[in-house]
Amino acid sequence: MNLLLQSPVLAVVIPLLFFVVIYMVERRSWRLRNALAVLAPLASFVLLASNYTRVLAGETVLVEFPAILPPLGMSFSVDYLSLLVGLVVAGVWFLVAVYSTEYMVKEHAKNRYYPFFTLTLAGTLGVILSGDLFTLFLFFELMSLSAYVLVVHEETPEAMRAGYKYLVLTIIGGLALFFAIIAVFEIAGTVSFTAGGFVAEASGLAVLAFYGFLLGFGIKAGIVPLHVWLPEAHPVAPSPASALLSGIMLKTGVYGLIRVVFNVFGSEVVRAAGLDVIMLVLAAVTIFLGSAVAIAQDDIKRRLAYSSVGQMGYILLGIGLLQERALIGAIFHIFAHAIMKATLFLTAGAIIYKTGKRRVSEWCNLGRAMPLTMVCFTMAALSMIGIPPMVGFVSKWELALGSLDAGSWGFVLLLLLSSLMNFIYYFPVIQSTLFGSQHGKGESTATKPELPIAMLAPIVVMTLVIVFVDLFPQSGVLDLAKRAAAALFLVVK
Amino acid sequence: MELLERLYTNIYYLVAVVLFVIGFHTMLTHKNLLKKLMALNIMDTAIFLFFVAIGYRSGGQAPILLPGVEKFVNPVPSALILTGIVISVSFTAFALALVVLLYKHYGTLDSDEIIAIRGKKHV
């Protein structure tokens, strides 16, 4: 019983329990339901944060349940990487939950939304806090399937179509992962993450397994040939769900890849088998295509979704370079992109909530009606472009340095090019909303307040994080990312 | 000559196989359900013959160990086949009952027509 009370386990179990509790109480009181949905991520956040000092002292918190599901067993662990990502997940989830309480008022079927919102949190945290591939897989599937309910929430025909596509690709991804995991188990006899990896050599089956992982996690992360579901599924979901899908759940894909590359295969094996080249090629294609296609989108949520594809390319690049500095960039970008994209989706959601306009071309003069919202949008967009003081800059900087370490000038150019394209698709939005011409006079009269506080507060908080985290190095995010990367490159053989 | 002799010694098996094939052929080619049923019975009989022939010794008697009985038939196959016959009988009875019901429902015993009627309903 003691095992169950360990904080990483509790962080996963509490949302699971809340899922059940919410399901039971929601018919009685919607206030209690909303409160519980907000409380679940907060509780997980606090539980995770309680590990902070232990983890920073270099300890890895590990809880194992070998009795569950033999021969594989289950385990949870918290190290630098999972602490960082876990805190980001729970934190963003908490803010989005607060936002949801107001945003979802207009929506139908709220009694379905909140339980699955919480269940998806459980899945996502489970992925991040898992101590072995199998536990990761278990929660990965839980997350993917419960997210389906969020994707199709609107129940429009296009939502159902997008949802079906999402579902089929998710299943394919899950099966690819399943194959890869049992192949690894067959080769090595274990699936627990180990520093430096445990697959000794790149045999045929091992390479096949790696492709399986790439396929499975690649589908989730939206790596380019596998991204087809993403631009369909993210826009049709309700905005808070889109923020989570794009901001958080994509990251589980790359998080899994990081674990696979560094803790299952080990960077040496990956390099020796030439698998890094594949990742780099995919990353380059993803960065370029994701950014390029985003330019052509008029629907703001589709544009943001394609932008996410491009950004996942950055992280894959950071992994594929197999350089410590590049990996710092990648890990930091997990954090940075989560915050940025969540902010962007939430602000876009706020605008749609307020005006009902989804098309960028219709967004003239919104700056006057919703000044604070648009300032936040602008800040997040600037950060995406990579303007210096903000978080988006840091990850690009580290990635660029990592590319230079690896001696690949080309990637630096690619990063610059992609920043340029980011600029091309974000700037017009900023321009037309803040400085647009005075056509729609009637709309310019600002209504007070511009947004309910529950929606505005999360956006503002995240914007503050975007702007100021980098200015205060003692916040420790970059430090944590550096330690995580160093730990992943630690080879103990 | 040797072939004929072998055929002669295995005459029961041979007949069993021929019967089996006749039954099988009839079952596959005839459309009338009753004929199919008969064909199945022929097949069963063929197998019974085969089985019983395994234990048969020509000129043997019932294996009741009374004085004077020296050469007797292996009783095991016969006993088994008795059970087989029981099964076959109950199977036939049951199948006949089904045939009656089928005729009631479809008004025909032709398997093709029955399938056609069913197909029409489905479309």
Partner: protein, 151 residues
């Protein structure tokens, strides 16, 4: 049911003459099951066939009066139950199920009372088989939909 059965004098009279002998023969086969070829199934089948013959010759309703469907089903079940009961006797005496040797007096080989409980079992089987055969026949005649043809 609307089964029209021929009212034929010759058949009736021949049947009246034959039936006792057929049934007697059936009984003989039953009782000597453990002494000579034959036994529960063969005897039961002969008796069952005689009953069918009887039903076919005389009006069905009349037969129904003598031995209706419920009765045949009863014989069917009773036969099986006696069989099982005999099996349990072995169990009660601490032997395996259906044990004969050591539980029942075996008697002298070749005589009627030999082979322990085999005779009882044969009779039970006879009841079961004849009951089943008749009940199947009646079932088919009545054209009900709950046929179960279990051996």
């Amino acid at each position: 049911m609307g089964v029209s059965i021929m009212h034929d004098l010759i058949l009736e009279i021949v049947n009246r003459l034959l039936l006792p002998f057929i049934q007697l023969f059936g009984m003989y086969i039953l009782i000597h099951g453990h002494l000579s070829p034959g036994g529960g199934f063969s005897g039961g089948a002969v008796i069952g066939a005689s009953l069918i013959l009887y039903s076919l010759t005389f009006r069905f309703a009349k037969v129904k009066h003598r031995m209706d469907h419920d009765t045949s089903v009863f014989f069917e079940a009773a036969g099986a139950l006696i069989y099982v009961a005999v099996g349990f006797v072995g169990l009660l005496f601490g032997f395996n199920f259906l044990t004969n040797r050591g539980v029942f007096p075996l008697g002298v080989p070749g005589q009627l009372w030999s082979g322990g409980m085999i005779l009882v079992i044969t009779l039970a089987l006879g009841a079961k088989v004849s009951g089943t055969i008749l009940s199947l026949f009646q079932e088919l005649l009545e054209g009900g939909s709950d046929e179960h043809g279990t051996p």
